[in-house]
Symmetry: C2
Subunit: 300 residues, 2 copies
């Protein structure tokens, strides 16, 4: 699978304290999550301050960093934010785009036939430029956010015509569709292009809409430490699972949403990607079994 | 099963218009829901304005109205409220307690050995007085709300020591427990007495906590018309299902939460109890099968 997005440092303030310059970014989380299931090719940009050891750690996970450009003209994208104690909201304290401001994704020759493509949450025009560089993939999944709905709506609408799976937060899904009830929200968004829609509800789980089918993924109850990267881990895990199956069917999509949810549930157990980096396939399989257990009931 | 609670008229203002004096009340909704599964004994009070035809309609559902007191000194409890267009909030415009102000539940002799008891959302002191009048039931389920947490906390805590299943909204569960994370919320509430806790999350479904087990009931996506009575239908359907099974096991509780959710999903499809009154067992079984379908996935 191919992952294109941001690679960053995050300085995170939460109830546990201040965590300076934790490695982050949508492409980082999605790649680590995807690597649990599949080979991963990463495309992004970092600055002169990005440690070789971190790149080596990604490589150890089976992530091909051949598309990770090092722009020596500046520093790596740096985000700083503060979470409320209940982790349901966050405030951005600082955004230094640095070298990310000039990011133009360049897909290496040997990444262009990769069948499963994740367009992390970057400008829709850049997401489109990725699709212009690759041969028609089997599946394209894209993430977006209110910033692009507000500021790049035309580009986003162009992008959606070329995307198979849209992953979006509930509030942003309402904003983009102009609808409230999820039945209407999903109908509107599916008209915009994607055949599959995943609406993330944070601590309430996620909904999958594919054709006439609807699927509900439960939340997993745990005491989260840090939600940074949860959405990207979800999408990366989801795509990695599909890549490992090879075939995109409604049944595989349902399981993919659960596997993505399971990966994300581990992500929030640590600050930054620390828990994800240690996650084993056995732990993941056990959690997927727990997702099954918490939703299983006798019909009679 | 025995249901004790309010019987009322509701005047409901919503996007569809104004609905004057629709029959309502916690005991009414819970009894109708319970009657889909079990014999129901109803205890409540109405005033001189309550139509005989409505009592007859309840009797036709197999509800024993022998405990429905008619207090000729005044009118029936009347609530008037307005829902926001998205139905996520409501404002109370008027509350005329009328004869309900003097309600003292009197459990008829032939209702006192009933094994499954639902204490609808009334003053905790009255809920306790019901338990003082009955022989130890096999299962007592109680509903409560912020009004009693604010105004009758000591009574509520006394009540909880004698309750098997507490059904409560997420926000009120946080208020009563003083905790935020559902893991801590549930731990605190289960310490207060009940062996089983059900936290309702409205459009996000419900959680069941029983012993070490946790179970997630999904929401059912539909375009709701009127959420009045949804919580009472949920609890009534849940208890009716358990009464029909006879045995209270974690497995039966899980299925009961789904059956209660299914009944509630029909309730909101009509204004007042109109949809519930027409609901058939076949329709209900089909919806339970849909609840299964929207959560079912392959683990591998």
């Amino acid at each position: 699978m191919l992952v294109v997005g941001s690679v960053a440092f995050d300085t995170i303030h939460n109830a546990l304290g201040t965590h300076e310059k934790v490695v982050g970014g949508s492409a980082t989380y999605a790649s680590i999550a995807g690597s649990l299931f599949s080979d991963v090719q990463l495309v992004g940009v970092v600055g002169k301050d990005f440690p070789d050891a971190t790149v080596a750690a990604l490589r150890e996970k089976g992530i091909d960093t051949g598309g990770l450009e090092v722009d020596a003209s500046g520093d790596t994208f740096h985000w700083e934010g503060k979470y409320t104690d209940d982790l349901t909201a966050r405030e951005t304290l600082r955004t230094d785009l640095n070298v990310f401001a000039n990011f133009q994704p360049k897909i290496p020759e040997n990444f262009r036939k990769t069948p499963f493509v994740m367009l992390g949450n970057i400008a829709p025009a850049l997401q489109i430029s990725v699709l212009d560089q690759v041969e028609k993939p089997e599946l394209v999944i894209a993430d977006t956010m209110n910033f692009w709905i507000d500021g790049a709506l035309d580009d986003l609408k162009e992008l959606l015509k070329r995307v198979d799976v849209l992953v979006i937060n509930e509030e942003e899904a309402r904003q983009l569709s102009g609808q409230h009830h999820l039945i209407h929200v999903s109908a509107e968004l599916l008209k915009m292009g994607p055949q599959t829609l995943i609406i993330k509800q944070g601590e309430y789980g996620a909904w999958l809409f594919v054709g006439d089918e609807v699927f509900s993924a439960p939340a997993f109850l745990l005491e989260a430490k840090d939600p940074t990267g949860a959405g990207d881990s979800f999408a990366g895990g989801l795509l990695g699972y599909l890549a490992s199956k090879g075939e995109v069917t409604p049944e595989n999509l349902k399981s993919a949403v659960i596997h993505g949810s399971a990966v994300a549930s581990f992500c929030v157990e640590g600050v930054g990607p620390e828990r994800l980096l240690k996650l084993t396939k056995e732990e993941l399989a056990e959690r997927v079994a727990q997702f099954r257990k918490i939703t299983d009931f006798a019909q009679g």
